[in-house]
Structure formats: C-alpha cells, structure tokens
Symmetry: D5
C-alpha cells in the first residue's frame, strides 16, 4: 500500500494556501489530527466537510467524490522505517504488554477501541526542550461471552 | 524474544499479595505503567526500588540483581496477534503518517523521543461505556545538522 | 506463540470423561465455541465458570487460577498451514474486500467488532453432503470523528 | 496482487447509477456478496450474468470478456492492514483452533469447503448498536483415505 | 511447527522390525503414502488401523490414542529447505499458473481438492536412470455461485 | 515477479482463435501443460516451435524472439493466494515429509528432478464428481558422494 | 520505499558540474555526509541551503520546495543486498550486543540518539591498503523514569 | 540464533568480580569492545587470551575451549527490537545510501571491510548531555576485476 | 532447523583426537567437504563409512544408525547472518543472474545440478594474502520437453 | 530491486550482433562472467572498457555514463525462484556450515572475500552428461583483533 495521489495534491494545496492543520481545524470544525488522517485517506469526510475543504483548497468534484468514499486503511510498511513513525512501533514493542496489564487490571478482559477513538497532539513548551503530548482516547470494549 | 520467567514470578506474587499496580505506585513512588514495564523487564530499577519491590513481593537477591540489570528490550512478535496490543499497531498503521504531518508542522523535522518519554493510562468513566485514556509525553528531538 | 499446556490437559480430561463441547454447553451455560476458545486460552472464565469446569473435568486450583486470568491471545502462525484453519484465511483473502464493500454499503465507514462478537457453528445435514454453518455476529462500530 | 482496474470501473459505474449491491441482487438473481466478489474479480460470471451487468452498468465487450474469464484469486496483503478486513484475520487467529475443535467433534477429520461455499451479510438492527451478521455455509469435506 | 515425537518412534520401530511402507500397505490395507502421512501425523487412523499398527510396531495405548486423534496439519517451513521437498515447491512456483490454465480449460472455475485426494508414488525403472512417478488424484470442486 | 505481458497476448490470441491447449498439443506435438508453461514463459521454445505458434496465433517476430529466449522462472508469490495453486502448496506442506520418506525408502538418498521432469493433467469422469489427475514424472537423482 | 527521482537529478547535476561532496561541503558549510543524506531525501534543507544548492546545481523552484519539505525516511530493503551497505547491517548483527554492553557500562540504561547525531567519513591512507574511518557521534539519552 | 549460555556466565562472573570492560582491556591488552564481542561469542580468543580470562573470571577448561573455537556469528533478530541496537539499524536505513555515495566518491567501487575492522566507543562529556562516540575503522576493499 | 546434536559430538570427538578433515579424507577415502557435510547431517554415510568413522572417533551404534539415515537437509536461516556463510549468499545475490546468462549461453536452458555435484576447497598460498578456492562441479541438466 | 533497463538493451544488442560472452571476453580482455556482471550492473566498467563495449554494441554516451557509475548491487529476491539461481541458494543452505568448518580449519577465523574475488564458469564435456564447473577464488580475510 502506498500514499494516495490525492494526499500529495492536498498537502501541496495546503502549503500554497499557507494553511496549517490548525487553520483547517477552525474551518472544518474537526481536530487537526483527524484532518491529517483525512488527507492520507484514513478517514472519510461527509459531503459537507469535503465541500468545505474543496472550497478552501481548490479541489475538483472528483476529489470531493474520493474524500467521501470509504478508503482501504493502513499505510504500511509492516515495520515502519521512518524514525518518527517507528518510535510508535517501538512504544508498542516495549510498552505493549505493560499497557495490557494495566488496562486489564483497571477494566477486565477487553481492548481499547481504535474505532471509537480520538487522538490529539499538543506541543508542550519546556525550557529543557519542548515536548510532544499525544493523547489517545478509546472506548473500552469488554469481551462478550456467549 | 519471549516473556522473561521473572515476569511470571512477579505477576504471581502481586496476585497472591492482592496488590494492584496502583498500590505499587504508592509504594515505589513510580507510575503504574512504568512498574508494569519493570515487571516485563522493559525498564531498570534502582537498587532501592528493587529492594522495596523485593520486600513487598517477597523476592530473593537474584531477582533483585535481575531487576537492576539493563534488559534487552522489545517483546515481539513483529505484528502482535493479541487484540489489545494489536490496536496500538493499527493506530500506528492508520494514524502514523497523519501524526507525522501534525508533529512536523508544529515542531519541524524531528521525532518524539521514546526514551525521554512517559506513558500514563487513565480510566475515564462514561455512561455510554468507560473509556481508556492513554497519554504519551516525549521530548521533541530536532534532527541535528552538521 | 504456541498452544498452552493447559489446553492439552483440558482436551485430554474432556476425552476421558467422554464429554462433547455440546455437553459442556449444557453444564456451563455458554456456547460450545466459546468453551473451546476458553480451552485454548483465548477467552477468560469467571470464577464460577472455572469452578464448574474444574468439578466436571477434575482440575486443580492452579488450573482454575489460569482459566480466570486474562490471556495473551492469537495462536499463529502468520499464515496457518492446517487446511481447516487455512480455509478461513483463504476466505479473508478472497472475500475480504467484497465483504468490506457490502458492510460499508449497509452501515457506512466502520468495522464489525471482533470483541462484542459471537460465533456459532452448526451442522446442517444434507443428503449431498453435510454442511458447516458458521455464524458470526459482531456489533457494527462506526468510525468516530473528532 | 492489487485491486484490478476493472474493479474501480465497476464501482464507479455502480455509484453513478445509484445502485446498491442489493439492487444488483434483484437484477442478477445472485447474492450481493457474490456480486461484490465478482466486482473484485474473485468470482466468474456466466456470459448471461456478465451481459446483464453490462446492460445495467454500461460496460463494453472487453469488460464482459474479462468478467467471464477465470481470475487469479486472493487480494493480499499477507496480514491485512485495513481494520475491517483485519478483524476477520483476528477471528482466524483467536478462534481458528477452537473452531477446528468444534467442527472436528461434530464432523470428524476434514474441512469446511471454501469453494462449495456461500457467504451472506445481514444487518441486524439493535437499539444498543446495529450488528453485522455474517453467515458462512460450506460443505464439509472429510479426508479421504486411500 | 515441528515433527511430532511420535513420528520418530514410529520410524524407529518400523526400522527395527525391518518393515517397509510397502509391507505396512499389506498389513493395513492402506496406501504406503497415506501410512507415511499417518506416521507424520498428517492423517488420522481409525481405531482398528491404529491397533493393527500398534500390534505390528509394538506401540502402547497412548500412541494409539494419538494416532486416532485429529492432528494439526502442515509441517513447514514456509519455503522448504530440504532439496527433495523443495522440488515440489519449485514445481508449484514454475508450473502453478500453467496447471491452473489447463485445469480451468478442462473443468471451468474451481480447484482440485486436496482433501478428497489421493497420492501415489511409483518407481519406474529406466536404464537411463530410474524415475519417480507421483500421481495425484483429487476431486474437481467447482466454485458455487449463490 | 509478475505475469509477463506476452502471456496475456498469447492467452488472448488463443481465445480469439477458439483454440484449446489440447488443440495446440496437436499442432506443436508437445503436451498441453508444457505449452501452458511456455505461455507463462516458464519454458523455452525451439525456433521451429515458436514459428508454428506464431503462425497459429498470429505473433510477430519479436514474440518469436522472446519465446526462444531463456526465461527467469518462478511466478511467486512465496505462499500462493489463488486457491487452485494454493492446494499444491498445501499438498507440499501436508504430504512433503511423507513423500520424502517413501521416495527415500524406494530409491535411497536423492531427489526427484524437477528439470528432467514431465507433468500431465487428465480429466477422469466420475458420476460422484469428475476428478483431476496430475501425473508427475521426474528422474531420480541420487546424491553424489565425492 | 525507493530512491526518490530528485536524487537521480541531484547526482546527475553534481556529476556534470564536476563537483565532489567535499566541494559542496565548502559551498553549503555542511558536512559532506549530511549533504549526501539531503540528496537522498533523508534530511531537510533550510531555504537558504536549498537555494545555494539550486544555484550551484541549476535546480528549479520545485526542487527547492522538495528539498525543504520533511521527508519520509528509511530507504530499505529490510536486509540490504548492496555489499557496501550490508556490511553496516553485519556490524549491527555481530557487534550490536557487545556495543550495547559497553555503552550501558559507561552510561547506564539508555541509547545513543540517531537524531541528535552526526556521522563523518574519513579516508585514512595506509600503505597496506587505505582505510575507511566512520565516526558516529550521538547524544546519550538515559531512559526517563516516571 | 540466541545468546550463548557462556555469555551469561561471563557477564555474571565479571559482575561478581566487580570488573569493567575497561579493566579487562588492561588485563587482556585488547579493546573493551572486542572483549565484549568475545563475551557474546562473536570473536575468537587465542589460547593465551582465553587463559588470562579464565584466571581473572574463574572459568573452567571447557569454557576456555569454547572461547578459542570459531563461533557462528550474528545474533539476530532480522530487525532488532532493542532500542539501543535498533538505532544502528536505523542509521543503516537512513544513512546507508548517503554513506555509500561518499565512500565511493573517495575510494571508488568497493566496500569497507567488516573483517579487517575495529570499533571503538568513547564517552564524550558534554554539559548539554554526554555523547557516545563510535569510531569504525575498516580497510577499503576495491572490487577486483578479472 | 538447527544444528543436530550429533554434529557437536562429532566435532568434539574430532578435536580431541586431533584430527583434521584432511586426515579423515585419508581414512574414509571421501573428500573433506563431503565429510564435513556428513558431520552436519547434510549427507548420508554407507554402513562401511559410518563404521570407519565410529572406529576413529569412538562413536556408538546409535550414532552409526543416525549417520546412515537420510537427513532432512538445509540449515537455515533464510538469510545467513554468519559473515563467512553470508558471502556465499551475497555471491548468489550479485552474480546469480550473470552466472545464469553464461551457463545458458554455453549449455542452453537448464540448470547445474546440486545433487550430482561435488564441491572442493583449496588453500592457494599467495604472498599478498592466501586465497580460498572453491570449485563446484555439477552435471548440467537440460529442461526436458514433453 | 529489479533488472535494470540497460541490461535488456545490452543483452538485445549482443544478440543482434551475434556475439557470445566469450567473444566479448576477447574484445574487452575481461572474463565473460565479469562482463555478464557488468551487463547486470553488478560491476563497474572503466571508461576505456565502457567505450570498447559501446563501439561493439552500438551504445550511446548515456549508456557509457551508466556503465562507469557505481551501481547498487544485489538482484533479489530474498529466496530466488529461478531454478538455476536457486541451486546456488540450496548449496549455501546445505553446504554452508560444512564449507565454514573446512575453511576455518585451513585458515583460522575469517572469511573468503566476495570483493577481492573472481568467478569462472567452464563447460566440462562428459559422455554421461556435460558438467558445469564453477570456480570461485577469494582472498582469505582473517578477523582483525584490536
């Protein structure tokens, strides 16, 4: 799986317009991370959202049609090589089992949903070096017995 | 790589003592996730921390020696099969590139450290179903030029 | 990941007692597939369920403790070699995208939960050869926007 | 292996005509899942079926020729990254061995055919959240001895 | 997956008794290849077959119990390294698509069953070098439409 | 590795001419499976064979040149996803070691050649369902000692 | 992931101009290895750096825009086949654990940053054969406890 | 491949004796990294070196015999999960091609030997955070033409 | 697949007796490389050869029985990590296609047998550094047409 | 990695000119295998060699420029599927460890260089079937201690 062509177009248009994701957050009334996910075709816009985006970025109707279609998700590769993305893989490798222990102790047998889920990114200024704060918030889903 | 034998011993002792990770948080003055990471030998205790844990859980001196040694990290497999852990892999697959875009827009070219890094898990009660809140906080490291 | 030792013990005890999964369904008031999943440590028993099973199959308290603990799930290998299990992999390879199209048309962008989920197996007698009927029933989870 | 170009054409034509798979079910007298499988070139149409589809969707004779040819099947990747499709992989990982136990107990040594096989998808409305019901029905094939 | 311990025991007993698979073919009234598959736990004996084998090879009742249980099949690795077994992988790599073309031309869309299936091996003497003749015979299964 | 462009051209020309592989067997005086292997560029034609084929199928001189060149063989993927081809992979997984035992018992340490090798496919009509008969015939090559 | 098209353009322009990386080091006031990393889009130029490079190599404004964008990093493949690059993989395979032991003994539990990091290459002339000297210099990052 | 049992024994003895690799450097007159490589059985001691080590660490004659034998090298896994070791994999992924360009420009077509090769690790104190300095020094080997 | 236990026993016995493979070549009247292959259970001894070896190395009858049995061959891993063995993988990666071109030009379409095959290793003394000479000699097998 | 476009051009030009690699050996005063390696861009020509080749095969200046550039080497795939090339992989799998034993016994701990290395192919006529003789000659490189 590779980055969709539309992603390049959206990123280029955004750059030319001089817009940040935070600006788009204002315009679309959606979180900047969700909008970035939409750019990479990992999320689906409503018609209204797609048209707002088309107005702002100068997209054509074909682009709108693609933005409201349901995408195939997951961008690979199996183990990411990009250092920024790899760190999230490393966190899963190193802290995956500890996270599982703590979640299960608090909630029982089940998972954190990655669907009924939000993800926010915040810049925390710090004189010793700014920090990235990533907040994930997913519904706990207990295993159903039958 | 597989789960260390000490992990089983620690988890069993903790269960017998009827202690939660939150209880251990009080005793060790470390976050419950970090303690769970220590249990899985993904983190290194100081001698003092190891001895406190030994007192509480009834460990012997060999266990203490292992807890203060520097472990080989990463617990595999390449793609996790456990559904709870897999969801974090899925988040990296689906939201990895969007996260990269937003972090870079806010900070420039660099990464969120997974070493100068903390991870907290909170239970957010919600009448429509409780939610898992995972907060990651890592120092931003800009790419050095030379 | 490999088949847990307890699985062998449970399957052997069940065979010696001459019990079918359908018999256990009567005793535990749980579906036979769920019970088989419990045998393979892919599901977690309540204390009551574990004790009923211990009574019927002659298990000791350590076995009970294991049955009520939250297991690491997923039994590998990546591509199954056993022909019966492989056919489910093949179904996912051949019908995965068609299933996605039809579910999305009926429900929108989201997934069928594999957690809030049940699975039943029925034998449908047929003079031209009996048939296996597998019914999966999972809650639809729409992608949250934020 | 990647999604065939014809698939895009068929999905686009279907969207323009405003037809659902359920509508095509009426027209072709085939199940909607089978038709979706045909769209993804995982199934083969008869000449009559292909021509009906060509009439409805405005296909040319080359498309008809392709729809009646026998395709190479299986759409990859080895482990799917799309969350909807992955859940079926997860079901195979978690419930594969339990399913094998129950089928073998009911039928003996053999498999559920994925060829003499049907698959239906139903939307079950539920006030707590609609549910996806997937019914697989395959002939049991006992291992031949010789 | 690895070679079962029972396989070593069966092969050793057969060698000590000075029996060939052809001899066992006489005794069990099953083909020598099927018997070799039973030795490797890729096939399931009837109680009668298992007991005949136990008599001939001096097996105990536990071995008999194992021979009549339904095994997990497929012996790996993904790509075989043993040159004799690799050649069959090579045949699939080189002649797989040509075989598919010819079978489909003769039978239509479907597969050769590997379950309702027999496999024989014959030694064809030849002054220029003896030849191995492998005959596979599987039921053709046409894809069901629904 | 992917299917060569010439393969599509040959298969299309054969279809337009209404020829079966059995018809080509008559014309080229080569087995239909070998001809299908030639179509997929897994075999090399003599100039005479290539020209006969060019006459029958209307090929140009470049096609002839390609048909007489020595191809890179093996069509991948590592584990085939097409159900028809996969069954041969499954046969190797399930029956590979048993075949090795029987061949070695009959011939000693060595292999069945996949080069000095023929493969035939026959349709065996059967009221309970027609059967595919695949006959492989390869020279036995004993391991040389030195 | 594959070599970007811009890399070819930059390398070709550099060759035509008869410039070495050492020459560019003079012009850009950056180390030659960093400049080579920029050529392969593994590093990001400032606008000033990109324009200097554009002047020297005759690039257009689109190239400048690409050079200042934040790239996806990591050039694959998983195990490199090029012998020069493979040797660095081999060094990691053979000396990885020993390096870890020595760094941990000197610094404690943590890592050498690959982000706050420089890499220099020097030619050391030697009558018995010139030597390549690679100096890596990365900040030590101790594991944070929390 | 996994860590040899002797490695654990050597590391434990070294810890009990309270020796650093720098201490062993004095005793053996070999670099500390080479000694760590010897501990992990990635290098071969002379009899004299092995006996010195045996005296210092209290090893028996079997250990000496193992230390002077030629080991199978490379400690896996294919992609390391330990964050410290992974960073060297990342350096190869990110800087591999740039390093190749610069080495080839300075030396021509060839490689840096990983056999006629030394590797040193130095701690560079720095008020902004100490730094790890890794120096690799390998003979350049030009490709032979013949 | 891993190194057989017998291999360790044979290598240890050979070392204790102070024998080289060249010495064993004299005793067994087989090439030293073939004998090393026998040690690693990649080749099969005749009873006479096995007994000679048993006399020289002090083996028991079980070892003899193992040496005359037909082994599963191929020692993995898929890509070797040992530098000496890797170089042969590298030769196949770099020179595989060129070798194919030259062999085909000289012989036509076919392969060099790895079964009817010998391999010799010679030490060629050279003042600029001794050289390893590996001579492979395999029967050419032309592709059979049928 | 895939076969370079230039390779096809060179092979085609050589065929049209009716030249064998042995003919080119005469013209370039380089071994035919080395020339084949140059064709596949696994070796680098001097300007003089490239121009001689350009004269003989009718190449343009761009081709010459490519032939003197330093290529990325290794032609994949990880495990070759072409039977001729696979046999060299099989030799490494089966005889890799035995070769290592014999080389180490003769030379000590080190490797055969694949860089200071030549490879020749000879046709040895034999009434029982011609034989392929491959001679590899590489400098022995002892592991440096430091």
């Amino acid at each position: 799986m590779s980055i969709p062509a539309l992603t390049q177009k959206l990123l280029a248009a955004k750059k030319i317009k001089g817009l940040s994701f935070a600006d788009l957050e204002q315009i679309l009334d959606r979180d900047e991370v969700w909008i970035a996910a939409l750019f990479y075709r990992q999320a689906t816009a409503s018609l209204e959202e797609a048209q707002k985006l088309a107005d702002v970025l100068g997209l054509d109707s074909e682009d709108v049609a693609e933005l409201i279609s349901y995408p195939t998700k997951g961008l690979g590769p199996v183990v990411p090589t990009d250092p920024l993305i790899y760190r999230f893989y490393e966190i899963m490798q190193v802290y995956g089992f500890p996270i599982k222990e703590v979640i299960q102790e608090k909630f029982g047998d089940g998972i954190m949903s990655a669907i009924d889920f939000t993800l926010d990114i915040e810049k925390v200024e710090d004189p010793k070096g700014d920090r990235v704060k990533v907040t994930m918030n997913g519904k706990f889903l207990p295993y159903k017995k039958w």
